[in-house]
Every structure is written in structure tokens, then in C-alpha cells.
Amino acid sequence: MSIQEQVYRYPDANGRYGQFGGKYVPETLMNALIELEQAYETYRNDEQFQAEYKQLLQSYSGRPTSLYYAERMTKELCGAKIYLKREDLNHTGAHKINNTIGQALLAKRMGKKKVIAETGAGQHGVATATVCALLGLECKVFMGEEDMRRQRLNVFRMELLGAEVVPVISGTRTLKDAGNEALRYWVSNVTDTFYILGSVVGPHPYPMIVRDFQRIIGDETKRQIQELEGRLPDVCVAAVGGGSNAMGMFYPFINDLSVNLVGVEAAGRGVDTKEHAATMTLGTPGVFQGSLSYLLQDEFGQVQPAHSISAGLDYPGVGPEHAHLHASGRATYAPITDNEALDALQFMCRTEGIIPALESSHAVAQAIKLAPTMRQDELLVICLSGRGDKDVGTIMEVLGGNKHE
């Protein structure tokens, strides 16, 4: 049966999205995952839990975030009407907090006082450290040494918030290795520790839990665009590393087949080079960090290092539900290079006075390509997943922004 003929209901009972997903973890973790699944099943339908989650999103994180008509950008591009879903206006500056609030509340309900997380760009780490401070939980964040260098400001923010940042010196010292190290630590401390995973990746039930806590992005967008335009958008564009902001944006639109869903992955120095993170474009199905999805790997299944100027997209895997949306054709995925993202970032700064995160700039770059090919009465929504303050150092390095020195 094709996806058009049925209501979308994934994951199935085995944690699968079509052929993708599953639970490929050491036996030591299996009962913890089952326990998490059961707890989540209880609380996803618990009114008190949901009310507390919604209340914190509203009063603490500042939701709903606005759906902003980017008028100057629209006029410059002479095409579709462009809206920005302003996840950058969340507390801590990115969509990541939607998920960490949800999972930290879950941890508390499950009686776990210790929390761990992995982080790439540092946004998930900061969002985790933030809610742990808020809820009185002990917090350890695993971060690759290379990323700690690229994102020094976020390291300090986490420490300021009372979290311990654990440098990861294995492998490529980036997000993938931070994820490995968090899983290793969890195996050793599974009885008293809750792992707040930051993206729609990992073993079931994580991809589902993170998606459900991020769907607020799409739910709000759907309501807001109805209010503003009286109809659904024609295209939704979002950047994909692991894919949490994209999954949150896409999920409420999956059964609305008139809405084109476009994921944007990092092509780094180009898909014709070896330095990219274009998992959908160039990867093949493989098992990595707990689930079957697309993966950058060699013919013997060794994971290949990814590259992107954006630490948050510098990841050789991708969430299994995205793999399914890609394989089934419901969503399409496009690669954007480092340079295209940098150009888009500057374009947005100049036309809208908004500095987008490098991750989000990939989505902006794809929108810049798409909008002029669309009619002026068509609607394009960009998920502006985070703000770019954290990236200013990196951008200065690349653009040589020290003009006044």
C-alpha cells in the first residue's frame, strides 16, 4: 500500500518506520528502553503531565514562537511568500528546548535524578543543562573535543548552568563520538541515570519521543498559517542533521499531501568531495547508534566521518523516520554546501535583520533556491531552528570579519 492510501501510523510495535528504526543496543540497555517506552506510554496520555509540559513551553520558553512573514526576503527572491517559523526565539535560542523540557519532566516522573546528554553544536547540551537547573537534576553533557573548540561559548554556558561538560576524545571528536560516549556511560549507569537524547535518532523509543516533543513546531505552524493565510503552506523546509526540528515541523503535515516537505542536509565542501554530511544523498542503509537508517559508511560497514561547517549537522547518520519519509517519497532531501549556507546566512542578516544558526542557514539556502521557482501566491515556510549567536566565532574565522583590527 502506498503512503497516500493509508493514515500514517509510525512507529509500529517494533519501533519501526517501514524498514527503518528498531533497537540495536547492548542487552544491558534493553530493560531501560522498555521501561522508558512504558513510562512514555503512560505520560503521553496523562493530562497533568501534558499540562505541565505545555505550561513550561509557554511560560518558560516563550511559546508559541511566531510565524513571521519575511517580506523583504520574499521581495528580493521574487517568488513564493516566505514565512519563518521562529524557533530561534525560544529560550536558549533553538528548538532543542522543546524536547529537553519534555524528557526532563519524564525523567522526574520516572524518579531519575541524574541526566546525561550528548551535544554537537552545544544547543542540545545548553537546553539540557537549562532544564536540569530548572528542575533540580544533576547534568552531564558529552561533547566532542573538536566541537568544544568550535563552540567554546556554549561550553561555558553549560558550565555556568551547573552542568559538567565531559570532553570526548575518541574517534572524530564530534557529535557521533559524543553520542557513543553518552551511550557507553549510560550502559554503566543505567539504573539511576536518564539519557536525554537530543535528536530523532538512536534506539526506539527515542526517535518517537523526540518527534512527539518537537511536533509543537509543526502544530503551531499549521494553526498560525491557517490564521494568517487561511490555508496550508505549499512547502516546508527544514535542516536535517539527526533531524529533530525537521521531524517536528514535518510530522503534523504528513497526511496533508499538498504540503511538500523538504529536508536539507549538509553537503559540506560538496557532494562530489569526501567532506560532507549528505547522509540521504550519498549514504546507504546501515545500523548506527541503535537504529537502522541511512548512514555514511564504507563497503564493510565502517562509519565514515562527516563534515559540515555546522557542528549540529556534522553527523554521519540521520533519524530513521526521515529515512522512511525519504524511501517512501513523502519528503525530499536536498544537499546544501558550507558556502551556500554562509551566503544564505548573510542574505538573511541583510534582508531581515536575523542572524540564523549555521544549521538553520542550510534550510534558508534551500529556500533561496526554491522560492524563485514558485508562484507568488504560493507559501513557503522555513523552520528557523536556531539563532546564530553561537556561530559568530566560526563565521568570523571563515569570512575574515576582523576588518577593524
Partner: protein
């Protein structure tokens, strides 16, 4: 199972049982630091009292392993060691008279990319008796086990102190032996084992007729002795890989490699004492 020749692993456990002995099962990472060293270690460790050997296939993201085995993996991968090399080195050892059973230790993705059918067929050819896949829990294992059964390759399951009510079901689907994880955590030398470890082993014992072996953190002769009275096999991994790491200056030069191998074999003999 349709194979008329008894799996080498079953025969070994049966013989040891009749002699009232426990299998010493050293682990090495294939190709660390060189594939020729691996071959010499396979032969030398057998001479030094190993009853079975776990052949670790190097992997880029070994998330069940601690830093010692992770570094060994990285060294082997620098030499471009693949699953295919692991099969070939076993075959070469057989050609040179190796007799004890081998069990492959590999993460699932290399198996998935190689193709389970092809792998198990070639394992029969290399006379490798079983396979341990640390990131393939019971729920994901059925298709692989079905293929393995057809080739009389044992898909050896792991049980952990956190498995609790899962022990029964895992044991039921077990093949070859049941690999008991000594404590929470990744592979590597540690100072203590799970509380109630003996009770855990007893639970596993009552759940199965298969031999049971313990691994993760077993690092010296005293540990081997302690668990020999509870188990049919004792796996020593990181402690041996650490010996290899310490002997790297010797092992990396063809002139002195044999001295390095002898040093590691001495360690294996000491584990037996």
C-alpha cells in the same frame, strides 16, 4: 540443525565438562597491530592453554567497548582490516594446525553490509563456530539466527545483570553458550563486579542447558579462578588487549614480533594457573 559434524564449540565444551574444567577464552582484535601478529597469537595462545578464542572484528564505533578495545580497533582499522581478513586469518590458523574453536565478535553493521548469508557460509569455510553480536538484542535477532542455524553457526546471546525477566527468553533462543556480562558497563578492566553476581550466574544456569561463560572485566588469574567454579567459560578481553598494547614496540617490528607474542602467551598461561 542439519550439520552432521558436531560444531567444534560444542565438542570443546563437552570435553572440558567431562574433565571438570572451565574454558579459558581470550579475546583479541583482529589485525592489532598487524594481521601476521594475529595469526601467531592464535597459534601461540592455543599452545598456552586457551580453550577457545574470541576474534574481535575491528569497528569504527564500538559502543559496547571501553577505551582499551576501542584503541585496538582503531589500530586495526589503520591497517584497513575488514571482516574478510578476520575470516581469512582463522582459515590460515586452521591450515597451520589450529584446533580450538573460534567465535567471532562483531558489531551488527559489518554483518549487515557483508550479508549474513555470505558471512555464515564463509565462517563454515574458515571453521569459526559461533558469532557474538553485542548490539543485536533478542528482539532484532530472529532473521540472523535463522540463517545462522542453517549453517550450524551458533549465534551466542548476551545476558546482563539488568536482563532480569528477559534471561529466560534469551536463554531459550541461545545457541552455543550464554555469554553473561559480569556487570553494568562496557568492556574493560574494572575493580568490582555486580553485586549478587553469583546469584545472577545461578539464574542463568537454571534457565539453560547450554554452557555459560562470563566476560567483561575478567582480568587476572584470581578472577578466572573465582568464576571457574560458577561458569563453563571465562572470557578475558581487555586485559589481553592491554598486554598487546604494552608490547606494541616489540610487535610492530618483524624482527621482534615473536618476542612480543611470547610475552602475551606468558600472560595467557598465567591466567590458567
Amino acid at each position: 540443525m542439519n550439520n552432521t559434524v558436531m560444531n567444534r564449540m560444542d565438542a570443546a565444551f563437552e570435553k572440558l565438562k567431562s574433565e571438570g574444567k572451565t574454558a579459558l577464552i581470550p579475546f583479541i582484535t583482529v589485525g592489532d597491530p598487524h594481521i601476521d601478529v594475529t595469526l601467531e597469537l592464535l597459534l601461540g595462545m592455543e599452545q598456552s592453554g586457551a580453550d577457545m578464542i574470541e576474534l574481535g572484528v575491528p569497528y569504527s564505533d564500538p559502543l559496547a567497548d571501553g577505551p582499551v578495545i576501542e584503541r585496538a580497533s582503531a589500530r586495526a582499522l589503520q591497517n584497513d582490516i575488514t571482516l574478510r581478513d578476520s575470516l581469512q586469518v582463522a582459515k590460515k590458523a586452521r591450515e597451520r594446525g589450529a584446533n580450538i574453536p573460534y567465535v567471532l565478535f562483531t558489531y551488527y553493521n559489518p554483518v549487515f553490509q557483508y550479508g549474513a548469508e555470505k558471512l555464515f557460509k564463509e565462517m563454515v569455510d574458515s571453521e569459526i563456530s559461533g558469532i557474538i553480536i553485542p548490539d543485536l538484542p533478542l528482539e532484532e535477532s530472529t532473521p540472523i539466527r535463522e540463517i545462522a542455524d542453517r549453517y550450524s553457526i551458533h549465534l551466542v546471546p548476551l545476558v546482563a545483570p539488568t536482563s532480569k525477566e528477559r534471561v529466560q527468553q534469551i536463554a531459550q533462543h541461545g545457541r552455543g553458550f550464554i555469554y553473561c556480562v559480569s556487570s553494568l558497563g562496557v568492556t574493560g578492566v574494572r575493580s568490582s563486579f555486580a553485586a549478587n553476581i553469583e546469584q545472577f550466574l545461578q539464574e542463568v544456569r537454571t534457565a539453560t542447558n547450554l554452557p555459560i561463560a562470563i566476560g567483561f572485566g575478567i582480568s587476572n588469574a584470581e578472577h578466572v579462578r573465582r568464576f571457574s567454579s560458577h561458569c563453563d567459560g571465562v572470557v578475558v578481553g581487555s586485559a589481553i588487549v592491554r598486554q598487546i598494547e604494552e608490547a606494541l614496540p616489540l610487535l610492530q617490528s618483524p624482527q621482534t614480533a615473536q618476542d612480543g607474542v611470547l610475552q602475551i602467551c606468558k600472560f595467557v598461561r598465567e591466567l590458567k594457573s
